[in-house]
């Protein structure tokens, strides 16, 4: 009986809770927010020190990413890009570099530009571009996310690019098992050289503008035969902690989403009960408009329902 009174006190407007469910009181809301923020803080910091149990399960093949990219290009009336093994190796190196140095950016913390990976693998480009994605569960979601972003879409559908290389790298990033997709676009300089007269490549040093997703074009001047030289060849280092074992127990996104949905639905139910009970009892009380709270939480509920895991850069 005491338990039922406690439940009524928590969830139903009554004299004992001043005609407002206790869980909707300011003190209860503060506690709720505190525990939610604490949970998020634990999700962020725990992986760095605790056991590696967080991660994003993914089943992504580079070939499928390339196929979908060409599908989008065909839909836009742009010619397909062909797979280039050198670009794929360069993309693999970029992915491994991000995992080993623990960064998620176009430019590494030490200033390494994306174009470094192109030239390191002796890919002399006329045009180059990079799209990045992480934590997507399937290739379609990643490609759709790129297509929704104007700058990434521009790379995907640019007729300047003739070749593509895609790498899917899995490993540990900030303590969380992560799947990175690195998509390199390029047009080989040799492909753009005229048959006669023979052109020379002027030393093309990409500018240091941060976060471009496409590299500046190199300049051609007609003089003598180019002598391609390869410098700074790097080998794709294996990711710090590559794993495909079923050790992933918790997806940070899915748990956040699940807990958020549960809490919002509970609060919305209690608020609806609050509105119905107070209309029937014609109770006047000092407080916010419960209908407004329902509308606000309803919007949050829709955002949480629509949200999908995955980030692009």
């Amino acid at each position: 009986m005491k338990f039922l009174h406690k439940l009524r006190h928590l969830f139903i407007p009554h004299e004992s809770n001043n005609h407002k469910a206790k869980i909707l009181h300011n003190s209860s809301l503060s506690i709720l927010i505190f525990f939610f923020v604490l949970y998020q803080a634990l999700l962020s910091f725990f992986p760095r020190f605790g056991p590696k149990i967080l991660g994003y399960a993914a089943n992504i093949s580079p070939d499928e990413v390339i196929r979908l990219t060409n599908e989008k290009r065909a839909e836009a009336g742009v010619g397909p890009v062909s797979v280039n093994a050198t670009l794929s190796a360069a993309a693999q190196a970029k992915g491994a570099d991000m995992l080993n140095k623990d960064y998620w950016a176009h430019v590494a913390p030490d200033g390494t530009q994306p174009w470094f990976f192109f030239t390191s693998f002796a890919y002399k480009y006329r045009y180059a571009g990079e799209n990045l994605a992480r934590d997507f569960s399937d290739p379609t979601s990643a490609v759709n996310a790129w297509m929704a972003s104007p700058s990434h879409k521009e790379n995907m559908l640019s007729s300047k690019y003739k070749e593509i290389g895609v790498a899917v790298v899995e490993g540990d990033m900030a303590g969380v098992d992560t799947t990175l997709i690195v998509q390199f676009f390029g047009t080989n300089l040799v492909d753009t050289l005229p048959e006669t007269p023979i052109a020379q490549v002027q030393a093309a040093v990409p500018s240091l503008t941060p976060i471009p997703t496409s590299a500046p074009a190199v300049v051609l001047t007609v003089t003598s035969i180019p002598t391609p030289t390869v410098t700074n060849i790097i080998v794709a280092a294996p990711p710090a902690a590559t794993t495909t074992s079923p050790q992933i127990l918790i997806s940070p996104f899915n748990t956040t989403r699940g807990i958020s949905l549960a809490v919002i639905l509970v609060l919305l139910s209690i608020m609806i009960i609050d509105v119905v009970v107070n209309i029937r009892r014609k109770t006047f009380r000092l407080g916010g408009r419960t209908l407004a709270h329902i509308a606000f939480l309803g919007m949050i509920l829709i955002i949480v329902l629509i949200a999908r895991a995955g980030k692009i850069l």
């Binding site: 989403r257 919002i264 000092l286 408009r289 407004a292």
Partner: protein, 85 residues
Amino acid sequence: MNHWTKHLPHYLSLLGILFAGGFGIILFGFDKLLQTALAIGVAGAYVAWGVVHHFLHRDLHPIVIIEYALIALFGLSITLSIINR
């Protein structure tokens, strides 16, 4: 004029704010910074709406403002967690 008709413009404006904010957050899924700014903006607008509404209704009280702020903070913490996971 009954209670609902009197406050209809208030609630319509609130729905407008929430619809625009929610639509923007979903639409700009590729830009985390913009999504964050929109989420903060909507939460702030919600508190502002509450203050104006209760002021016009002549029942504005610090407890009411705190309640709107807490609901906004709760929604904001959930939205930012979802955006950045």
